[in-house]
């Protein structure tokens, strides 16, 4: 820490001349920190789920520096992280994207000794196990791409090394969203997505890497395909999966495909679609309009994803310090509480507890019935007294993860097949 501080100091002295430098060196480092930090601007980008203006405002209040947020869709995030390293300081990306982005060398490894709450980060991001007994799910599990060998590591390490590629921030277990009022019966399996009963009223997301995983969950649930690893399919498995979905598409099963969060919300809220793959905050967005919508737990389990913060290779000196400060602040609980009220989980759940009421904590984390109204971070009511969260407690949900979003060895082949499916 001291080393990088003095780097910032000498840079300042170079810039502002010898006199300023002499004066500055007379003060202890934190003083300089306090003076300079207001000038720092960090540019962050990521998907709309976690790149919220509220976070940027809170950063300004708590830490004093400016955080510029850009929200993009998942594909654009990958593209920017891989091709425009100079255009950002902080990349808020998903773990499966990390597999594509890390080899480009645009990000730098992070020293876990500088992360205050490192020990409190949940096990899935470190060893892959939520609890010591739990099994590691299929797909690109975050811990498999979470560590690298050293500050300049280009490959992923298979266990904790002290150098992280991304600092985990947010994750969730995804499942199908349904409109209970328009379906009118219980839904318990992934294969209901292709049930002809919902012909012309089903949807799936058009982001191939995620869509194929949902498709795999459906095909497996139908009993049509037994996958070796859904997160790393063979060509034959991809062909079979896409054949089943193409057939369904030609029969008119799907109403529309969605690519962005808002599209999924609109499809569901307008009743164009009654069953679709969906993200948790999209469900809360539909519910906060007063429309019933359930994030339906299914017997086959969840398809999960995790996101984290990566630092640009170009960060150094004062900006790098500010970035570490930001990461520590991120894991300190305020953001965690904010995200958990939208239905996500924080990488360090126990710190979020300090920023949530006991009732909120009970509802969102422990799966207990709410005692009063539960609101989202923007104040809209999501649930009333007595209601419980879909899928139960944190351990029930994250313990039932069947696979993680993934990048397969046959990724290019899969993408081509996916395009054929869209054009069919």
């Amino acid at each position: 820490m001291t080393e990088t501080k003095s780097a910032g100091l000498s840079r300042r002295s170079l810039l502002k001349g010898a006199a300023a430098g002499a004066a500055a060196s007379a003060f202890p480092a934190p003083m300089i920190w306090a003076q300079n930090i207001k000038d720092v601007t960090l540019r962050q980008f990521g998907t709309g789920v976690s790149n919220l203006n509220e976070v940027a405002q809170k950063v300004k209040e708590d830490l004093g520096f400016t955080l510029e947020m850009t929200a993009l869709d998942s594909d654009a995030v990958t593209q920017r992280a891989a091709t425009q390293p100079k255009s950002f300081d902080i990349a808020d990306i998903e773990y499966w994207i990390c597999k594509k982005v890390w080899p480009t060398g645009n990000l730098q490894a992070m020293d876990t000794s500088k992360i205050k709450n490192y020990d409190k980060i949940v096990g899935i991001f470190k060893s892959g196990k939520l609890t010591p007994e739990s099994e590691i799910a299929q797909g690109t599990a975050p811990h498999t791409v979470g560590f690298t060998d050293g500050p300049d590591g280009k490959t992923f390490a298979d266990s904790e090394t002290g150098w992280m590629t991304l600092i985990p921030t947010i994750y969730n277990a995804d499942t199908l969203g349904i409109r209970p009022d328009l379906i009118g019966r219980p839904i318990a399996h992934w294969h209901e997505l292709l049930n002809p009963e919902f012909k012309g009223k089903a949807s799936i997301l058009d982001i191939s890497s995620i869509g194929i995983m949902d498709a795999a969950m459906v095909c497996e649930s139908m009993g049509e395909i037994q996958y070796g690893d859904k997160g790393n399919m063979t060509r034959e498995e991809i062909d079979k999966t896409m054949a089943i979905f193409t057939e369904a598409k030609k029969a008119g099963q799907f109403r529309a495909f969605w690519k962005t969060f808002d599209e999924s919300v609109n499809l569901m809220a307008s009743g164009e679609v009654v069953i679709q793959s969906m993200w948790s905050p999209a469900i809360t967005a539909v519910k906060s309009r007063g429309i019933p919508c359930v994030y339906q737990p299914l017997e086959e389990g969840y398809r999960s994803w995790g996101g984290g913060i990566g630092l640009s290779k170009n960060l150094s000196g004062l900006e790098l310090d500010a970035a570490y400060e930001y990461i520590n602040w991120y894991l300190d609980g305020w953001v965690g509480g904010f995200l958990m009220r939208q239905g996500y989980y924080s990488a360090v759940p126990e710190t979020s507890k300090n920023y949530m009421s006991a009732d909120e904590w009970g509802y969102w984390f422990e799966g207990k019935p709410a005692e009063g109204d539960i609101t989202n971070p923007f104040g809209d009511k999501l649930a009333g007294a007595g209601e419980t969260r879909d899928g139960g407690s944190f351990y029930d949900r994250m313990g039932a993860v069947a696979c993680w979003n993934a990048v397969m060895d046959e990724n290019q082949y899969m993408v081509r097949k996916w395009n054929e499916f869209i054009a069919a």
Binding site: Q79, P103, T104, K259, V415, R416, N419, E420
Partner: protein, 287 residues
């Protein structure tokens, strides 16, 4: 020096050079770049310079390509038919039925009002209108015309073409109106005096004289429709694809060389189409 400047070839070149330079830098150079990149190779996260035909091989070897190109041309042709019919009628009304110049200008400006908002807004506003519980369906149900909401109104080829026609008809109206305004009224009087019916005047006098306008409008509409991908994505609910979407998907997945190859083929197709169109009308003479 003075004699040198009097050389009309040299002054001609000098006068043309600023525009030539701008076009070279901003049009020719990028296209050359795209052509070069279309022969490169790509991995998951990088592209590398090479000279290989992989991208084209894959492009021409895939049945998806033909299907998508067919789809693109289908959209272009149907949209062209509708925009031409509507555009010609509107222009005809403005040019020959509206007598005073003030009204002509006022009505013409009225046509442009929708263009004060963005393309995307005009397109997206169709979605709540055409939806399953949208205004169109609920109106038809309340009139007793239908019992069940019409599913094909939204997220179908119908909605895609409707949006295209809505978005691009003005590009047909403007050039046709422009050529119509330049038709000498005495020619129409002469036709009338010679005993031609209204329809004969239309087919023998007005349409031939409007050909350059129709051609310019056609070029606008065809190129716009063939390059558009966002309308197809939104209005078909991502369920149909045209070449533009193919390219945008490739870009999203970092497959730049493959996107470049598709772009080159699309460009060639459009140029070919325009080449054919220009054989019917000598635009240079008419302008």
């Amino acid at each position: 020096m003075a004699t040198l400047l009097k050389n009309r070839h040299l002054t001609g070149w000098l006068l043309a050079s600023p525009l030539a330079l701008v076009l070279a830098v901003f049009l020719v150079l990028p296209i050359v770049m795209i052509v070069i990149v279309s022969f490169w190779g790509a991995t998951e996260f990088s592209i590398y310079p090479a000279f290989q035909f992989d991208n084209y091989e894959f492009l021409f070897g895939s049945p998806v390509t033909y299907k998508v190109f067919f789809n693109t041309i289908k959209y272009a042709v149907i949209t062209w038919v509708f925009t031409l019919t509507i555009g010609f009628t509107v222009a005809y009304f403005l040019a020959f039925h509206v007598r005073s110049l003030t009204w002509q200008i006022a009505l013409f400006l009225l046509c442009t009002i929708p263009f004060w908002t963005s393309n995307i807004i005009r397109m997206i506003s169709w979605i709540p209108f055409l939806g399953r519980n949208g205004i169109a369906n609920s109106t038809l149900i309340s009139w007793g015309v239908i019992d069940e909401p019409l599913e094909w109104l939204l997220f179908s080829d119908f909605s895609v073409i409707l949006a295209f026609v809505h978005l691009y008809t003005l590009f047909m109206v403007v050039p046709i109106f422009n050529t119509m305004m330049r038709i000498d009224k005495s020619l129409i009087e002469a036709a009338y005096d010679s005993g031609a019916t209204g329809f004969q005047t239309l087919t023998n006098v007005i349409i031939p004289l409007c050909k350059p306008g129709i051609m310019i409008g056609t070029i606008f509409v065809v190129t716009l429709v063939m390059g558009d991908f966002i309308t197809v994505r939104f209005m078909s609910g991502s369920q149909s694809a045209n070449v533009g979407r193919l390219i945008s998907n490739d870009i999203a997945l970092l497959q730049y060389p493959s996107a470049a190859a598709t772009a080159v083929v699309l460009l060639a197709t459009v140029l070919l189409l325009i080449g054919i169109l220009l054989r019917f009308v000598d635009i240079r003479k008419e302008l």
